[in-house]
Symmetry: C2
């Protein structure tokens, strides 16, 4: 079911849909965001999302103190207005509004934005699998920005702009050395001979909260895991492939250019384990 | 003289200082900007700034049609309100406001933002020279984003955050291979044995409008120019060093870590040629 929720948004703790044009989030992409699935009015993986947000703030030198309280208060204000089963909570932090110039003054007060919007129902894609393609747009390497979910997302925008065919659910991106990294909005996993693989995101890419959740689940359930640097041809030997993020959970991949896969047992097992985890 | 101008801003052709939080400029840094010096109510290097903006729009797939007219109209509205000699006109274009997700829909209407603010007087730095330092933050390599002045500026923000000492006017940035590229907010030139050098910005960095202006002036006045890939140690042999951008014009560099320079004849000649050019 596709749900329509009137958009509920708060800026700096007040009901609002607008921002100063001097905000550094707009001027320089100087901030971070999280998109969190809300089921039965419970934000899923809340602590993991906040840990990543805190790491991002540390990396960018944005004061994190007080931010959690501000978002907690937003959540308290927004959730009672949400009468639907599944929604998407997007949290954004910027360094704040300031004068022109790159200097990240410590005197600035961070801007917080929370919005609760309708969730799309992805159950069919999760059950039937999706088709992927390759993107030409590379992910550039910068360890300072790797892993965190910052607002500099032009590479993802350009990559996602490479196709309009709605049959294709996601595009895979590589670094300038040709190494496999992730999808435009998802992390990538594959399985070969019972071992689960996913690319390292220490040089570029986003350290997805769902990726971390699945890695932890796999380890807990004795599925061997290898995280490393891989070239795209490893997928030729893969028995199963899937992508994941906090909103889509797990989408089995059934086709990528000339390669095809069945939805495999490890993918199915992780989907089941994740459902159990979320229902706790 | 430091001038104070009340900030004059327009968003989508109307007097405004606010923007929708769903604007992709904020969400993904999905847009471009130009900062233009306005002297005696004349925007300097207007055509060159617009050419770069147009190139940026093409690169990002943002429709450029109509944007020049919209900014022309903003300018007509703002300039009569400006009674000061020197001001800074900042123009921003984003892909517009849209739903969540990276897909750059062609249906979106670009957002335009124009603001006219006080210009800082840099004549002392131009006359006496400035002190530079090295930044550790690298500029990552992505030819798709190189040259254009997009809104993904976290690398510049992090680099500029490396120092607070106000005696240091600018920091120099290198690419991941260690090649010399530019300052956080300026392009770099140096002179050795009468030849003018500046780094190529085909893999990363901003193709500054002032950089292009100075390259053209040098060629016109028979100053030999070499644009290429250089390691930082080339500065050990430099006779003169300077940085430039559209707002600061030319700042001679007198010190960088252990290296010191006098303000040299080529720097002085280019400062004079630029003044003549601007007064036409």
């Amino acid at each position: 079911m596709n749900q329509i929720i009137q958009e509920l948004t708060r800026v700096n703790g007040q009901a609002s849909q607008i921002l100063a044009i001097t905000d550094r989030g707009l001027c320089y992409g100087d901030g971070l965001f999280e998109t969190i699935k809300v089921c039965s009015n419970k934000p899923l993986l809340w602590d993991a999302h906040f840990s990543r947000l805190e790491l991002g703030c540390k990396r960018l030198g944005i004061p994190f103190g007080g931010l959690k309280d501000r978002f907690d208060a937003d959540l308290k204000a927004l959730l009672p207005l949400n009468s639907h089963d599944t929604a998407v909570l997007k949290l954004t932090v910027t360094r704040g509004s300031g004068p022109r110039g790159y200097f990240p003054s410590k005197a600035l007060r961070p801007t917080t934005i929370s919005s609760l919007t309708a969730a799309t129902d992805f159950s069919r894609k999760a059950a039937e699998g999706v088709i992927l393609r390759w993107c030409d747009t590379p992910l550039s390497i910068n360890p300072l920005l790797a892993g965190i979910k910052h607002l500099n997302r032009l590479e993802q925008v350009l990559a996602r702009g490479e196709w309009e065919n709605t049959d294709i659910a996601e595009g895979l991106m590589r670094d300038p050395d040709g190494c496999l990294i992730e999808g435009t909005m998802s992390n990538l996993f594959w399985c070969s001979a019972g071992v689960l693989y996913t690319p390292d995101i220490d040089r570029c890419g986003v350290a997805g909260v769902m990726r971390a959740t699945l890695l932890a689940l796999a380890l807990k359930h004795q599925i061997p895991v290898v995280v490393g640097r891989f070239m795209p041809d490893v997928l030729n030997e893969a028995d199963e492939v899937f992508i994941c993020n906090s909103l889509i959970d797990i989408w089995p991949v059934i086709r990528l250019d000339g390669l095809t896969w069945e939805i495999g047992p490890v993918t199915g097992q992780l989907q089941t384990l994740l459902k159990e985890e979320n229902s706790v």
